[in-house]
């Protein structure tokens, strides 16, 4: 059932792979930021290889949408694999949301139950990015036209990638960034606060030096052991499946599917924490200046991490790990 490349091809980005597992398991939106050549696109394109299989009902739903959109092919008359949509940044708002004269579902709906990958997210026009907000919140998109209104489902995992700045090298240790502080800020601001708020996971990746990637700085023995610690898609997928199973059991009858949907009263109910975990999450909110939204993201992600370990109660280590995937604003310098 594998589609796309395998994570065994990704060398030396174990941190990012871990984030991918968490994203896939809890269906959390994820923003990957890194310098050119750090492997953002490859990491993203491997994601289908660890997504859990679709069940009957999901296949039915996705196929219906693709059918209405006229997107089914002779080779794949039924959507059996989770969609992975990757619209280019020149996409029109209509192609993204759907609608148009003939009223067809757009990319957001075609990505329903799968992944919407926006490569180089800041390159998308602001108006296009802003159309994502409401669908991300509601899981459906409503389109009103003269001919009438329709509602298309669109519960997808939003995966975004971004350079850290216009030239791409802000924060790199071996390239000079030629941007001014104001340019860097304006580039980063292209992904608006409200949109960033909807990304549960935000990670920064660095390029892996070639010598390290090839293991040239190490002996043969170490190289062999390194290969063993490298996570491959199969292992990652098993983790994801384990996390999904936990969620299925927990949410049966609650009208939810994924941890990423947890909010408000449900967040409280389904995220019991041990005492230390609770106090760490509160202290961190204070100390790291997290907003209420930021706090909720941490709890949701910690929930998924606990699920990966098949733990019902969220432990302090889960919260601590989740905090590393928060939106880490640069703390000094550009102000």
């Amino acid at each position: 059932m594998e589609k796309g490349p395998d994570y065994r091809e990704v060398i030396g980005q174990e941190g990012a792979k871990r984030a991918m597992v968490i994203a896939a398991a809890g269906f959390h939106n994820l923003l990957l930021t890194g310098v050119p050549g750090s492997g953002k696109s490859l990491l993203a394109r491997c994601l289908p290889s660890i997504l859990p299989p679709m069940d009957q009902e999901e296949i039915f739903q996705a196929t219906k949408i693709h059918s209405v959109a006229g997107a089914l092919t002779r080779e794949e008359p039924i959507v059996r694999h989770r969609p992975f949509r990757m619209p280019h940044h020149t996409v029109s708002p209509t192609a993204l949301t759907g609608g148009g004269r003939k009223m067809k579902p757009g990319e957001l709906s075609l990505a329903h139950l799968g992944v919407l990958f926006l490569d180089e997210m800041p390159e998308f026009p602001r108006e296009v990015l802003e159309t994502l907000r409401q669908p991300l919140e509601d899981g459906v998109i409503r389109i009103h036209r003269l001919a009438g209104s329709v509602t298309y489902p669109c519960r997808f995992l939003l995966l975004g990638s971004s350079n850290p700045c216009r030239c791409g090298y802000h924060g790199s240790s071996d390239h000079h960034c030629t941007c001014t502080p104001a340019q860097i800020k304006s580039y980063q601001d292209r992904i608006s606060g409200p949109l960033l708020d909807r990304m549960d996971l935000t990670i920064r990746i660095s390029a892996v030096p070639l010598t390290e990637a090839l293991g040239l700085d190490q002996g043969l023995h170490q190289r062999a052991s390194r290969r063993e610690t490298r996570m491959e898609s199969e292992e990652m997928r098993n983790l994801v499946l384990r996390g999904r199973k936990k969620q299925k059991a927990r949410f049966s009858g609650a009208g939810l599917t994924f941890n990423s949907q947890l909010d408000g009263e449900l967040l409280e109910r389904f995220c019991p924490m041990e005492k230390q975990a609770r106090s760490l999450s509160l202290e961190a909110s204070e100390g790291m200046g997290l907003s209420m939204r930021g706090y909720k993201k941490i709890v949701r992600v910690a929930r998924t991490i606990a699920d990966l370990e098949e733990e019902e109660i969220i432990r302090v280590s889960h919260v601590a790990e989740a905090l590393q995937y928060r939106d880490q604003q640069e703390r000094t310098g550009i102000r």
Binding site: G171, P181, I203, S206, G287, A320, E321, Q328, T332
Partner: protein, 287 residues
């Protein structure tokens, strides 16, 4: 600017900063806001490039945390980059800090540092030789640099390109007979070209804050207590960073042999303890 109240002190008055009075061309009048007494203490100035790298800002932050610990006022110029990082770190660690402006006291340059300026007014000291309303000229910033070094017993140049204004500050510091340090950097970094050149020309390399304390005859405060607050695994992480400098979480995994979930969790806990901090995906020792 809503708050227009400021004070003045003349060179002939007793609370004029004594070290500044000793330089060749001390300002006749200083305009200030905040606690003037800070300027009469033993101060250390931290200057550097407006751009700089994460490394430079880390050094500035580190010095800010140390000066705070020693309760030494950190002097700088309220510019973006290294200056702001130094001021901010001193404030974050409840330490004293002094900003010397190249404009009138009622003008914030750059504007983006307005909140920082306000915080320094409240908790530290802002001063300038220029009258209210004076706008920056190409000459006012270099001239201001003599006050930065003139107030200080020692000046540390953190990162400077080959034609950076911070080199002017270093020159003043030397001429004024004050201790001057350059922070060494990679020789392929344009942001360290100026500081490395300073060192080549005979300025002391800045290796550790404690060395500066020794040079100034200030007794050291023990470092060991930081390690006492850490558990076994945390010490592994700390040592890896102490040996290797800034690292990504992936590099820490390789170095310590611990899996990524555990490394991430440990880093958070140590961040909360104030031992580490993270920026742009890299992890640094904070103190």
């Amino acid at each position: 600017m809503k708050n227009t109240s400021f004070n003045m002190v003349r060179r002939t008055e007793t609370d004029y900063p004594p070290l500044l009075r000793m330089i060749k061309d001390p300002p006749e009048t200083l305009y200030y806001k905040g606690n003037l007494a800070l300027a009469s203490r033993t101060c250390i100035s931290v200057v550097g490039s407006r751009h700089g790298t994460a490394y430079g800002r880390w050094v500035a932050r580190q010095i800010g945390s140390k000066t705070a610990r020693y309760n030494i006022p950190l002097v700088s110029g309220l510019a973006a980059g290294i200056d702001a990082a130094g001021h901010q770190s001193a404030l974050d660690h409840q330490g004293p800090t002094i900003a010397v402006l190249g404009t009138g006291i009622d003008i914030c340059y750059p504007r983006s540092n307005q909140h920082l300026m306000t915080e320094i007014e409240e908790k530290g000291l802002i001063l300038t030789e220029y009258p209210p309303g004076f706008r920056a000229t190409p000459y006012s910033f270099p001239a201001r640099n003599r006050i930065i070094s003139g107030l200080s017993a020692a000046t540390v140049v953190v990162e400077a390109g080959i034609s950076s204004g911070s080199l002017i500050t270093a020159g003043f510091s030397e001429d004024q007979g004050r201790r001057t340090y350059g922070v060494p950097g990679n020789i392929n970094s344009i942001f360290s070209a100026g500081t490395n050149r300073l060192i080549a020309d005979g300025v002391m390399p800045f290796i550790s804050f404690e060395d500066v304390m020794d040079d100034l005859g200030i007794p050291r405060i023990g470092e060991e207590e930081v390690l006492k607050t850490l558990g076994q695994d945390e010490i592994r992480i700390y040592q890896a960073l102490a040996e290797g400098g800034e690292m990504t979480a992936d590099e820490l995994c390789r170095k310590t042999g611990k899996p990524i979930p555990q490394v991430n969790a440990l880093v958070t806990i140590m961040e909360m303890k104030g031992v580490l901090w993270t920026s742009l995906g890299k992890i640094f020792i904070a103190k």
